[in-house]
Symmetry: C2
């Protein structure tokens, strides 16, 4: 990955974060990157592939860390299912930690959050290509952790986890609407929220 490609990806993060996928034009991106208009198509093939490359570039190290942590936890558990809290923690902590590493990681988060809820076309590509294995694996472990509950309830809880994560990714950096002033939350708060929420849902179904 050469210098121009890096510049394009970093500019793309900012522009996609600020304007969304459709809202950011290739000219916006190349102007910010200081490159020619044609550079996106030359180096990545299309605007869409630039977006995907950007996502992969940032998310793959995070996902690798997640898989490593899961592996280690499963090893230690020695065959018994993990706690829900452990799974939640493994999914959230590497993500939130990456906020504080690097300058515009928050832009990337927002760009990914927006892009994934905005575009239907490559959302499915992304699921298959980048997130599919992660989702499948953790959904499976969730099923083991909640094995005495109906699959539908597991799905709901897993979905709640998903929206909480994507909710964090959507948040703006600055308090810009005058009503909600939000900083990126501590990983601990988010983990407590999701875990406590799931436990409450589970507790309510068996009276």
């Amino acid at each position: 990955m050469n210098k121009t490609q890096i510049k394009l990806i970093e500019a793309a993060e900012r522009e996609f974060a600020d304007r969304g996928f459709h809202g950011a034009s290739v000219r916006d991106i190349t102007t910010r990157a200081g490159t020619n208009v044609a550079s996106i198509n030359y180096h990545f093939g299309s605007k869409e592939e630039l977006f995907l490359a950007m996502i992969r570039h940032r998310i793959e190290p995070i996902n690798q860390e997640r898989f490593e942590l899961l592996e280690a936890a499963l090893q230690e558990a020695n065959g018994t299912p993990l706690e829900v809290r452990s799974l939640v923690e493994i999914l959230i902590r590497p993500l939130v930690n990456s906020f504080s590493r690097g300058t515009n990681r928050k832009s990337f988060m927002r760009a990914m959050g927006r892009g994934m809820s905005e575009e239907t076309q490559f959302t499915s590509i992304l699921y298959k290509d980048v997130l599919g294995k992660l989702i499948k694996t953790f959904r499976y472990e969730f099923g083991r952790s909640m094995s005495d509950h109906p699959e539908e309830l597991v799905d709901h809880c897993f979905a709640f986890l998903g929206s909480s994560i994507s909710g964090v990714m959507h948040h703006r950096q600055k308090a810009d609407n005058g009503h909600m002033r939000i900083n990126f939350p501590d990983a601990d708060h988010l983990i407590n929220f999701v875990t406590g929420g799931i436990e409450a849902v589970v507790a309510a179904t068996r009276p």
Copy 2:
């Protein structure tokens, strides 16, 4: 509001839900509505104002119900702060209940969820114009309910509630990505999740 305007709003719900604000063109919308291309500008002024009109048309009855429920609950509480669960319930139940009323309410939900995370320009208009009073009021009551906790923690919890709601609004109707199969959750599950989550966050801060 005449017949053409209704047709346009309903078509807009579907198109904005499927393609997002920028992704759906005025020609997509008017074709689906069976009207002329110029009808959007004639009746609403612009594509953007059509979007806002669509949001208002659906969200205002919901918000009115929320305010009425809050009023009633405050009356009954007689000056004492409400439980967090009550506030969560008042915000969530009218929204989720509206899913089952009318044919394409789910499209509206998704359209609003997408539009609000996609567009920055009228997101702020929407906050000021449609959601501002609601957010302000419930944030204030949240503060009363959690009065022995720092404001920052209240903000975080309020934000968690917000992302959970907007997470529900983002969900697709069909299981379309092969990994996550999500139906719109019961109001009860969502309420339990958010309330339990907030309680867990609060509990963790005082050991």
